[in-house]
């Protein structure tokens, strides 16, 4: 079992043992804390190997008793629904453990089985939460929490073909202790720790205890035990048990290569390889829900960061290229500006002014045109020209012996003036006003009419 763990923390009922990275390979002694000690936080925390470093991958092994399993009938097989259901159930069942809904794992019963449901494993021991908090504060928050029984279950699943369909007892004999682990259909049921008695009757008493435990198993699992696997001091144990139990006994090869663990961690020797303990699978370990959530999003986050980083590199390259292009264009513009001494706008302004002046009729010209347009019988009195509005007001007198003559004179003047001034709109008699009040009658019978006219000139 290859491992990529940084730290392994093993908890017993009294102590915790923290194995540093590489420590579990080189047989180095773990750092030990008593459980009372961790409740008086944060003193002593700095003694932890890797204390204060982020990103540690820590495995926590807790006693089997800290873990509990329960079965709930549940119809749905959808993980999201099962998760929500279990969170609700656990919170309701263990109100004194506020974090319980974060620390559980489950396995769904096969749809073909009689009763559909979910078996949930969860931390039920307050010490487990205290320990998790302690490790979290030391930046060693455990990513996986498991127990010796679950580690054995994972190992048995790999080496025993029918482990998922049988009732299996694992007997692990270590020095003066024997550990019994009972599994039903691949799921851990319960474990026992027995002290091996001294003297000749040790095997008889062990056999008695095993028989008692098998009876308990039969009651709990409601099925018979199919196989006994033995590990540890195999020779003596197998010899003493063979023929005395009506169950096949299977011998497990040792996992490690003589790794020596502290005496109170001897229960792990069977699953402790030369490289420590491998990362347990999801079914045989509990991962804090918050860590699971973070791990789920981690690839998305990194993918987003990498995509953005690549985009930044690409965009920055484009930016540099655009910048050089812009500088080139600005250099060209500066060169053109040097050549371009006189902007066309100035010339346009000059042209506008000259055109305006050319289109404007000076007073002298207006007078000359007026003179040329006058009929013989008409005399100018006053001329007012407003060059801003291009309007001309004219006051004149026409002498005529008959109204028809007067009309002809007016018409002639209007036509002449329109032609002379090249007016857009020709002047008509209607445009002229004449003042009847000022009628003057000459002695010769001729009448002088005073007329006024307003016209728009170019």
């Amino acid at each position: 079992m290859a491992t990529h763990l940084n730290h392994i923390v093993v908890a017993t009922d009294e102590k915790i043992h923290v194995f540093s990275p590489g420590g579990f390979r080189s047989n180095a002694s773990p750092v030990e804390f008593s459980l009372e000690e961790i409740s008086s936080l944060p003193t002593g925390m700095e003694r932890l190997p890797g204390y204060g470093k982020n990103g540690a991958r820590t495995l926590l092994v807790v006693p089997d008793l800290w873990l509990k399993q329960e079965f709930f009938a549940f119809q749905s097989q959808k993980n999201a629904l099962v998760n929500a259901f279990l969170e609700r159930k656990l919170k309701a069942a263990y109100p004194h453990l506020p974090q319980i809904n974060r620390f559980f794992t489950f396995s769904l019963k096969e749809p073909s089985t009689e009763e559909r449901g979910v078996t949930v494993f969860f931390l039920q021991e307050q010490k487990a939460f205290l320990l998790n908090g302690f490790l979290a504060r030391a930046k060693l928050r455990p990513q996986w929490i498991t127990t010796p029984a679950l580690l054995w279950a994972e190992r048995l699943l790999k080496i025993e073909r029918d482990f998922k369909n049988q009732g299996v007892l694992l007997v692990d004999l270590r020095q003066e202790q024997v550990f019994l682990y009972f599994f039903s259909r691949g799921e851990f049921l319960f474990s026992r720790r027995l002290a091996l008695a001294d003297g000749s009757g040790r095997w008889e008493s062990l056999l008695f205890e095993i028989n008692q435990s098998i009876y308990l198993y039969a009651q709990k699992a409601k099925s018979v035990l199919n196989k006994i696997c033995v590990a540890g001091d195999i020779e003596a144990l197998q010899k003493s048990l063979s023929g005395k139990l009506d169950i096949p006994i299977h011998r497990l090869e040792p996992e490690g290569n003589g790794t020596s663990l502290p005496r109170d961690l001897s229960f792990l020797e069977g699953v402790w390889s030369s490289s420590g303990i491998g990362i347990p699978s999801e079914v045989y370990s509990i991962t804090d829900r918050t860590i699971r959530h973070e791990l789920k999003w981690k690839p998305v986050q990194w993918c987003g960061i990498l995509t953005a980083a690549v985009s930044i590199i690409a965009f920055s390259s484009v930016n540099l290229w655009l910048d050089s292009l812009l500088q080139d264009k600005l250099r060209i513009q500066a060169a053109l500006m040097e050549k371009h001494s006189q902007p066309l706008a100035e010339i346009e302004q000059a042209l506008d002014a000259l055109t305006h002046r050319a289109g404007h009729t000076p007073t002298a010209h207006a007078l000359m045109h007026l003179d040329a347009a006058l009929p013989e019988s008409m005399l100018i009195r006053e001329v007012k020209i407003n060059h801003e509005t291009s309007s001309m007001e004219l006051s004149a007198a026409i002498t005529a012996d008959h109204i028809d003559r007067f009309r002809q004179s007016m018409k002639l003047f209007a036509d002449n003036l329109s032609r002379q001034l090249d007016l857009n709109r020709a002047i008509t008699i209607e445009d002229m006003a004449f003042q009847v009040d000022d009628l003057k009658v000459n002695n010769g019978g001729k009448t002088t009419y005073r007329i006024s006219l307003k016209a728009i000139i170019p």
Partner: protein, 183 residues
Amino acid sequence: MTSFAKNRWAWAGVIWLTAVAIAFWNHQKIDSILSVDTQNQALQQEIVFLQQHGRRLESIQQEYAKLFLPVESVQLGVLSAQSAICELAGALELASPQFTTAPIARGDETAGLNIALEGPLEKITLFLSGITRLQYLEEKHSTIKIELERNEAKCDLSMVIRCRLQSGREKPLVRRAEPTSAL
């Protein structure tokens, strides 16, 4: 680990914001390049146009320059214009015109000038014709009253003098008025 994960979201956000900002910056630069390019094309066309029509444009500029009286100050311009007008009236043996000027605002390059003149109708007409040669004078209003009995005319002109202020070191103080000898 929670804070680290939170930081990761923050980093992702910051990096994405940076990427978007650079993209926006690029967009701005592309706009600038296109704008400069358009300006350069217009400049290029103008340069070609100026090269092709240089002489004509020069004459236009010269004609345009005649519309302004190059002087050091507007007040001097007014005096110069009055002097030229008096010269013109004198050449036509007309009585000296009466001038009234409007107050000149600081920084202004134009000044209002009212001229009142009396004389024979023919000479007044010649005077009006002569004054058109002083191109820096722009007519605003003109009133000519003719007394046929005396063959006299009374002329009131309202004009604007257009000046171009220049440094005295480079240019003469007062530009000499347009010749009136033609009259």
